[in-house]
Symmetry: C2
Subunit: 344 residues, 2 copies
């Protein structure tokens, strides 16, 4: 039973969203201890009922007063909500774990993947009256770095070329519903409903819908570039990314090409990854069994396979690999709750 | 009217397959001149009727006698058929345009993309009594090189990192049907039928099902590596590829990272590509309009977009781009018929 007198009080901001709902599942799965939990959402959802661990909760409207007595606030309600209410919660002494991109690149804000850089949030504690904010990295960054970091620690990555295969869930529950609806419509020969995305998504794929910046990259791609540097605390690591949405429900895949400073071969890489927490190696050429989005859906671990020595790089300084991870879980909710666990 | 007295006699080998059917559409679309055409397939399809350009044809069984009097034989019936019957047709004086991988890497066999290396088939003529065989490159290679070659000619590509997003059509008409069937089944909550592929394809993606070689690459990936070298006649160009099947019907997409010997910027690259035959640039950041498999389906041109200067490479020596092309058309049938056109 996770309801405990001396445990922290929680708030979930954006509880009706895909990640908000996953926050609850993960809290439950991991038996996260809490003495109370506030279910917060927009005015539209306020008053609705919700059952969590056999108790009924009424969803409350998120306001400036929502964070009185809240120890840990898990945010996943978009950047503008975080930007406004994150500082409000900190002011009230809450430790905010924020899933949005609002504060990720701000100096002094830890950007944390618990398996990768737990040291970045050292000194942050709950219940001290001193608020803080820890940012959850972008889903593609988390999934990529779960696999790349153990190899980076061994042989130092100097350049990384990433191509993503991103699921509908990254754009929220409505996008997942639209993919399903569109698929039905296309199969029936009807024109697809395009509310969330501007174009047909079923049986198609397209450049990630994040805004395009002046350098020609989209925001999603530059998150991978910049967040990697911050998380690895290495301003010299070179990263490029092409982010593509594919008609898959809830897990991302990434094709990752790595260039190392020191030599590393594919056998060493596999051994390192096999013993890395939160990573599972699926790499069986004989049965052609490698990671797929479907196999990692609703799973905690990030799966890595197709680990090959890159034939386009001399010597033992290059590797290719294919990585899959559940976007809602390790890409968002699980990572945030692992951060919260480190606060206990 | 493409039926002409002095035009070559044709044979289509594998006429009932996805590419075989597309051979007929493309011959028709391009008003390819011929004086006769033999529709060849396996025993199973022999005797069936087929209408082409308002004439009825009976499908004939492919035998050693099929090529008597045939000037140009278009093959798309798999590697083992090509291996056996390609030499038989050549013996009879036919010029074979072979869509399989059987002869692609053989010395002396031209491997041709007409917009890229037409010079490789110089001297080959029809109706001389001297047979010949010209290989059609793999679909992913054709689509990639249609976009990469014009840039290569300008600034010399020294390394290329490719990640593919490959359609069902690459595995034939039955794979396309299975994707549709599986999608229906999954939407109805039923287990998916897995005859062509060993796993669920609907709402999923997976490492290309080609056999894995001892270096960890699969055959599809090594085709990109090796065919690029042969087509560019450059044994030093370094290529790596990760080939992934995505639940899309008939057009491939490829994320391509390029490293050049000489400087090139994104504006020059776009200008070069805009004036390249068989290439269309779709690159509108303002409306987030970039190439998609759906938009190029049933189209001849390969579409290129997301042309950015690579932030992970110093100076002006790196570019990222995203390429889409119809797998059955430019990736197979159209390219083969363009080769045949050069024989006229």
């Amino acid at each position: 039973m996770a309801l405990q007198e001396n445990a922290p009080s929680l708030a979930v901001v954006g509880v009706t969203g895909a990640v908000g709902q996953e926050f609850l599942s993960v809290l439950s799965d991991r038996d996260f201890p809490y003495r109370s939990i506030k279910m917060l959402a927009s005015k539209r959802s306020a008053g609705k009922q919700l059952t969590f661990q056999d108790r009924n909760y009424t969803i409350e409207e998120l306001t400036e007063d929502s964070f009185d007595g809240v120890d840990i606030a898990l945010f996943s309600a978009g950047g503008s909500i975080s930007k406004h209410f994150g500082p409000v919660a900190m002011e009230k002494g809450s430790v905010v774990v924020d899933n949005s991109s609002a504060f990720r690149m701000e100096e002094g804000i830890p950007l944390v993947i618990p398996e990768v850089n737990p040291e970045a949030m050292e000194g942050i504690k709950v219940g001290t009256g001193k608020g803080a904010l820890i940012a959850n990295p972008n889903c593609s960054t988390i999934i990529c770095l779960m696999a790349a970091t153990p190899l980076h620690k061994h042989a130092k990555v100097i350049r990384m070329v990433v191509s993503t295969y991103q699921a509908a869930s990254g754009a929220g529950a409505a996008a997942m519903e639209e993919l399903e609806l569109q698929t039905r419509e296309v199969m029936e020969g009807k024109p697809p409903t395009c509310n969330i995305f501007k174009q047909q998504y079923a049986f198609n794929l397209f450049s990630h819908n994040a805004p395009i910046l002046s350098n020609g990259y989209n925001e999603e791609e530059m998150k991978l570039v910049k967040e990697t540097r911050k998380i690895w605390n290495d301003m010299n690591v070179k990263v490029t990314a092409t982010c593509i949405r594919v008609p898959v429900m809830r897990a991302h895949a990434e094709s990752v090409n790595l260039q190392f400073e020191k030599p590393i071969d594919e056998y060493t890489a596999k051994d390192i990854l096999k013993s890395s927490p939160g990573v599972v190696v699926i790499d069986d050429p004989a049965s052609n069994h490698f990671p797929t989005p479907l196999e990692v859906s609703n799973k905690d671990d990030v799966a890595v396979g197709r680990i090959c020595r890159d034939v386009s790089q001399d010597g033992y300084k290059g590797l290719d690999m294919f990585v899959c991870g559940d976007q809602i879980r390790k890409g968002a909710a699980l990572n945030a709750i692992q951060i919260a666990e480190m606060l206990l």
